[in-house]
């Protein structure tokens, strides 16, 4: 095993392989930064180029590109409040708030370092778990996936505002998100639900225009109202110092970064959950690390933990998602399905062979995840001063350019005018929600998880009747869901009682 690990590294540092990986990293860097381009789309576009490559070269190129997309997507989210990738939306909440406060360097430093740790964590998980992952994945059927979705939705309580009133709005936003996820053709009966006779809605709402509208339009309104640059509210300061503060923050909250990396890896392993879920659950986990209400109310307004959690989870999920893809040929996400196609193009069948005949290739993938992220983070840190200065570009210049990127980003989801209408409609919804103090994160979390929950519920019920409720992992997840939902209240209540006693 150790021999294969070192061989995996040696095959990677050959000039041609390394060169192709660098080309992949360069492409992934820009794909992540540009809102209009998705990682999965670019993977698909690059597939024709791998026909003439050897397997090691092909995966160094493709994985090198794919593994850094989330890392650089964070940069756009932090600097402009526009998601570079659909998986980097949670980063906007606190990362962009920090950039507006003049702490762009610190936010970027924290995002990059937590992303790197997350990526290394995911890669190590991939290296260590392949021989033992089969029983774990086989234990997770539709009932467990349904309960995992419900567990994710229970984080709505952590993502809501302060007090009962904040919870009420958070739950309402979550319910609205669930209802939005029901739009489109019902997979059980084939009924068209809430489509109003509009063909665009038959397949349901696409996540990209919804997210771009919800998050970008309110930020643009705020930028236009202030009429200044994004970071004008605070002096720029020394970015290098800010960056090192961010790096230091990552190690100060190391346990949180590790927990969120674990969440990301686990969600990556589970087919069908995806990165959109990982970022929000880890954000919810980060908000739960707040010691009291005052600390919690700082989330969404520039708390560094809100940057660290999603940063780590988004990158660790890549290593996790590779586990079922390599071990069983079961892709965990759309990107992994495309990567699976790359296996077939190369004439490789994922499965037991990856642990025997192709073990060196498997370990070379582990190294690609690590090295590509190290190179990207190093390059980003070198150019960070220039990147962070973008937050100080005049609003009059930024607004039209960002709007153009938002429109093109929304349109390329399905190349349809419907995407643009959805983008505008959700832009209005996002503006109203922010104006009225409603949290947007629960809506997105529930929107992402709603369909997964419903589909797996029916698969579970059809396959097991209601006996699935007695499965041990399901019971454990039910208890965990209840604990996670009520934990914030119990903790604050516990803290409030002694405070009241002290006051009395």
């Amino acid at each position: 095993m150790f021999e294969a690990l070192t061989q995996g590294l040696f095959v990677l540092i050959q000039v041609k392989v390394l060169g192709l990986m660098l080309v992949g990293i360069f492409l992934g860097f820009w794909v992540g930064i540009l809102p209009g381009l998705g990682g999965a789309t670019t993977l698909a576009l690059m597939l024709p180029f791998i026909y003439t490559m050897s397997p090691v070269e092909a995966f160094a190129f493709l994985l090198g590109m794919h593994s850094v997309v989330a890392t650089t997507g964070d940069i756009t989210s932090i600097l402009f409040g526009v998601p570079g990738e659909a998986t980097t939306v949670a980063m906007i909440l606190d990362g962009h708030a920090m950039a507006k406060r003049g702490e762009a360097g610190r936010a970027l430093g924290a995002a990059l370092m937590s992303s790197l740790i997350g990526a290394v964590f995911g890669a190590l998980a991939l290296a260590l778990s392949i021989p033992v992952v089969r029983p774990l994945v086989l234990k997770f059927g539709a009932p467990e996936l349904f309960m995992l979705a419900i567990l994710g939705i229970s984080f709505v309580s952590s993502l809501s505002g302060e007090g009962v009133r904040g919870l009420l709005r958070g739950v309402l936003a979550g319910l609205l998100g669930l209802l939005l996820s029901m739009i489109g053709q019902d997979p059980q009966e084939g009924i068209l639900r809430f489509t109003f006779g509009i063909p665009y809605l038959w397949d349901g709402l696409d996540i990209v225009p919804v997210l771009v509208g919800l998050f970008a339009i309110p930020e643009l309104v705020d930028l236009a109202v202030r009429g200044s640059s994004m970071g004008e509210q605070a002096p720029q300061g020394n970015l290098r110092i800010g960056v090192w503060d961010g790096v230091r923050d990552t190690f100060q909250h190391f346990w949180l970064v590790v927990r969120c990396s674990l969440i990301g890896t686990f969600i990556g392993i589970m087919p069908g959950l995806g990165g959109g879920v990982a970022q929000w659950i880890s954000y919810g986990m980060a908000t739960q690390s707040a010691k009291d209400q005052t600390e919690r109310s700082g989330f969404g307004k520039g708390d560094i933990r809100g940057v660290l959690g999603p940063g780590a989870a988004c990158n660790s999920k890549e290593g996790g998602a590779l586990i079922p893809t390599i071990a069983f040929g079961v892709p965990g996400s759309s990107s992994m399905s495309i990567l699976l196609a790359a296996f077939f193009i190369q004439g490789i069948m994922p499965g037991p062979d990856m642990l025997g005949k192709y073990l060196t290739l498997t370990f070379s993938m582990v190294w690609v995840l690590i090295i590509a992220n190290i190179i990207t983070v190093a390059a980003s840190l070198v150019f960070l001063n220039h990147l962070a200065k973008l937050a100080y570009v005049r609003a009059s210049i930024l607004i039209p350019v960002i709007l153009f990127l938002c429109f093109i980003g929304a349109y390329t989801a399905n190349n349809s005018m419907g995407d643009l209408i959805a983008f505008l409609a959700f832009g209005g919804v996002g503006y109203l929600m922010v104006s009225c103090g409603w949290p947007r994160a629960p809506l997105v979390l529930a929107f992402v998880l709603g369909k997964i929950a419903e589909n797996n519920f029916y698969i579970a019920t059809t396959r097991y009747g209601y006996s699935w409720l007695h499965r041990p992992i399901v019971l454990f997840l039910i208890v965990l869901t209840l604990v996670l939902f009520f934990y914030p209240f119990l903790r604050y209540r516990k803290k409030e009682i002694p405070e009241k006693e002290m006051a009395a």
Partner: protein
């Protein structure tokens, strides 16, 4: 403040109406298709009603309820803020209207130039340079390289016919 209360009540009321409509719409669906929408729409309706009544009674004054989210800047005069918000939405809608009218490939440079020159009051050089950069990016990457199918505008159809 009164306007915010009004918006809050309206948002609560909208959600209540959505909940009621979802329940009504799911009434004639088969059980499997209707189960989840009904399970969601009932609490949405009831909690929406509660939120609306609390907003109308001004309960947030006592109970805080700030979201885990960013808040709009409050250091700008409300009338200026309202005018700038309205202006931004008009520009966004204008851009959106241009796309079906003249097509994406023409709408992008036209919008960017007009927005920079007249809304942003930028100089000619900056406006022209930035417009050219955005157009090149759009044409080169999305049109030539990725072959994203951008439909031509209605006006070009009229022109060709």
């Amino acid at each position: 403040m009164k306007a915010v209360f009004k918006a809050r009540s309206l948002l609560g009321l909208s959600v209540t109406i959505i909940g009621a409509y979802a329940f009504y719409d799911s009434w004639h669906w088969p059980n499997k298709a209707a189960l989840f929408p009904r399970l969601i729409s009932v609490p949405l309706f009831l909690l929406g009603l509660l939120e609306t009544s609390l907003s109308l009674s001004g309960a947030e004054e006592q109970k805080g309820g700030a979201a885990v989210d960013f808040e709009f800047s409050t250091d700008v005069d409300p009338i200026t803020a309202r005018n700038r918000t309205l202006s931004l939405f008009l520009w966004v809608l204008g851009f959106f209207a241009l796309i079906p009218l003249i097509g994406f490939l023409l709408a992008v440079p036209l919008f960017i130039f007009l927005s920079l020159k007249f809304q942003g009051k930028e100089g000619w050089l900056v406006s022209i340079l930035l417009t050219a950069c955005c157009w090149l990016f759009m044409e080169g990457l999305f049109d030539r390289l990725l072959h994203i199918p951008f439909a031509p505008g209605w006006l070009s159809f009229l022109w060709s016919s």
